[in-house]
């Protein structure tokens, strides 16, 4: 038990935080408040599962905010006419395609993931704006909104889905060959390449995973809010990345743990709900956000990580030798 708690800093922090909430604030003595936290944590958590894969290979996807806006709009536009299953399939396919594009720019063209996804976010957002003409899209049928808003045996439905996906993500990471390849690539691209791993393919698959998990998050969010606009999740990528890093996945790559990410999502949601329950003013909330970002990311160590990532990128974009020297 003790060895399990070792290195589970974020879990302990969460338990401590909840205990402090319980003791100091009457609003946290009702089960509703905690269920609320779990519900809110699910959305950022599902997206964070995909992003964990991404951070492990030392990349970042800054387009997920725009992706969610676009996918949520599409979801709400078509789910009434095509039904739930078809819609889910279509949205997941879209998410995969977006991921494919991002991954291609990153792996095949060697653009820094940061820049490539930032540029693509412009395009996704613009498409969303043009498609929706800037107006919100709404869909309020019960059978759809229950996904984001409903409870099953008292536990919020999105949270149950979230746990399921976390387990799935963890299995992919730890028990599949792909997962091994992802971790290896994150540890050292050069070594992975030399030991026969198709590093380019792994990178693209990672971004496809990000796309798929983001798509699921988009469906959940659109169900929760009954409506969507193009810029509804502007800047969300930073929240998601912060959650992944808070959970202990290092920006230096190679290490990652889905359950820690999940716990960090709950922690993150707890902070926000906590600030509301303690009636902390909006400006102060913003400043707390800023501080969390700094604290979460300051485990970088000496070098500017992005900078060194770029270095690795350049050095390993080596094409296979065309001629063999005889």
């Amino acid at each position: 038990m003790k060895s399990y708690l070792k290195g589970r800093g974020i879990l302990v922090s969460l338990i401590l935080l909840w205990m402090i909430f319980f003791i100091t604030n009457e609003n946290f003595r009702r089960i509703d408040s905690y269920m609320s936290i779990l519900r809110e944590a699910s959305f950022v958590g599902v997206a964070a599962i995909g992003m964990t894969f991404c951070i492990i290979i030392k990349a970042m996807d800054l387009s997920i905010g725009a992706m969610i806006g676009l996918l949520a709009i599409i979801t709400l536009s078509i789910v009434g006419k095509l039904g739930l299953i078809t819609t889910i399939i279509i949205i997941l396919i879209f998410g995969a395609i977006f991921g494919l594009i991002n991954g291609f720019l990153y792996a095949k063209l060697g653009l820094p993931s940061f820049i490539a996804t930032l540029a693509m976010s412009y395009i996704y957002k613009a498409i969303a704006l043009i498609y929706s003409k800037g107006r919100p899209i709404q869909f309020s049928e019960k059978w759809f909104t229950v996904i984001g808003n409903g409870n099953f045996l008292g536990i919020p439905v999105p949270f149950i889905i979230f746990i399921g996906l976390t387990i799935l993500g963890s299995i992919i990471l730890r028990k599949t060959i792909l997962g091994r390849q992802i971790t290896a690539t994150g540890n050292s691209e050069k070594a992975s390449y030399l030991s026969g791993i198709d590093v380019s393919k792994v990178k693209i698959i990672v971004f496809v995973l990000v796309g798929i998990f983001t798509a699921i998050a988009a469906i959940l969010i659109s169900s929760r809010l009954w409506s969507a606009t193009a810029d509804m999740k502007s800047g969300y990528e930073f929240d998601v990345i912060a959650v992944v890093v808070l959970g202990g996945t290092s920006l230096k790559g190679g290490k990652g743990n889905m359950f820690d990410t999940a716990v960090a999502s709950v922690f993150f949601a707890s902070i926000y709900t906590g600030m509301n329950m303690f009636h902390i003013g909006a400006y102060l909330q913003k400043i707390v956000e800023g501080i969390i970002l700094v604290v979460a990311f300051s485990r970088g160590g000496g070098v500017q990580i992005i900078h060194s990532k770029l270095k690795e990128n350049k050095l390993t974009n080596v094409k296979k030798p065309r001629r063999e020297y005889k």
Partner: protein, 315 residues
């Protein structure tokens, strides 16, 4: 070894909470038996319009003896939903909400009604949700007023006008331009440009400059909110075109200053403070189980009228 960093986060945040908790946004009244809490969730406290609304709402709540809890959505619809849920979880007696995205009111109203909490919407829109009452400014009527003003005061000329719109997601506010348009086109004016300034002052400025270039015979411009109108007025001055009539909407202080200084012609003044108080009185009635007399029974709407303000009205 438990990660020290995680610990550090928790400790510092808790300290922060406890300290800041003392600066709570609640307005507690000295009554021994408090009548309960009323929660107010507002679009974005960075804007003067909503600041006035908040003052009115708070005053109304405190006057009636309830406890007051404020939530700022910061123009984010997710914050709107989760923050309202947090208010609901604090066992409020009623929820007053000024939504930044009315279409996302659905889950909030549902959650509130599940706990028998009445929901009163203040301005912006109801988003087809099942609210208990909505107080709205007459946006279309206000736009028409602006149109009538333009028709009455415009000098002989090209009769070309333009509209600078707020962001399209403000589905009720964009009706202001439609009201203006219907009035002026009926008498033969031409709306040569209709562009979105996304409610931003900077964009009002730059769009106005481009309109002056593309349509130099322009005579009047209606801006769907005051910040954009003031920006547009500045653009006219910087382009040395004092002849263009600029009409705004809201009644913000910067617009009143601009009208007084003569660089802007008129604005349509809303009454956010009064609207705030009205929502509280409605909330009180609903809490007590009384019936409300609506201006529109079917849509449960209460209208608050708007006023045209020109230089003569400002002393």
């Amino acid at each position: 070894m438990i990660k020290a960093r995680g610990f550090l986060i928790v400790i510092s945040l808790t300290l922060a909470f406890t300290i800041m908790g003392c600066q709570a946004n609640t307005g507690k009244v000295a009554n021994v038996a408090s009548k309960g809490k009323i929660g107010f969730s507002v679009y974005d406290m960075q804007y003067e319009y909503f600041q006035s609304m908040e003052k009115g709402t708070k005053q109304g709540i405190v006057d009636l003896g309830y406890d007051y809890i404020l939530h700022d959505q910061k123009s984010d619809q997710t914050q709107m939903v989760s923050g309202s849920q947090d208010l609901i979880n604090q066992d409020i007696a009623a929820l007053i909400i000024c939504p930044n995205n009315p279409e996302a009111l659905g889950p909030i109203v549902e959650a509130a009604h599940a706990k028998k909490i009445p929901v009163i919407v203040d301005d912006i829109g109801g988003g087809n949700s099942d609210y208990d009452a909505i107080v709205i400014s007459d946006n279309i009527g206000g736009g028409r007023m602006a149109g009538k003003y333009a028709i009455k005061n415009i000098k002989a000329g090209s009769r070309e006008v333009a509209i600078i719109k707020v962001e399209p997601s403000a589905t009720f506010a964009v009706r202001r331009g439609e009201g203006f348009k219907s009035e002026v086109t009926a008498v033969g004016f031409k709306v040569v440009k209709e562009l979105s300034g996304h409610s931003k002052q900077e964009e009002g400025y730059s769009i106005m400059k481009d309109i002056i270039t593309s349509n130099p015979k322009i005579q009047a411009v209606f801006c769907e909110n005051d910040p954009m109108a003031v920006g547009a007025a500045q653009a006219c001055i910087d382009s040395k075109r004092k002849d263009i009539m600029i009409i705004g909407f809201n009644g913000d202080k910067i617009a009143l200053d601009a009208i007084k200084a003569g660089i802007m012609s008129a604005t349509i003044k809303q009454s956010p403070y009064e609207m705030g108080k009205e929502t509280v009185s409605l909330a009180n009635k609903l809490i007590k189980g009384e019936k409300i007399k609506f201006d529109d029974e079917k849509k449960k709407e209460i209208y608050i009228s708007v006023k045209l303000i020109t230089k003569e009205d400002i002393n």
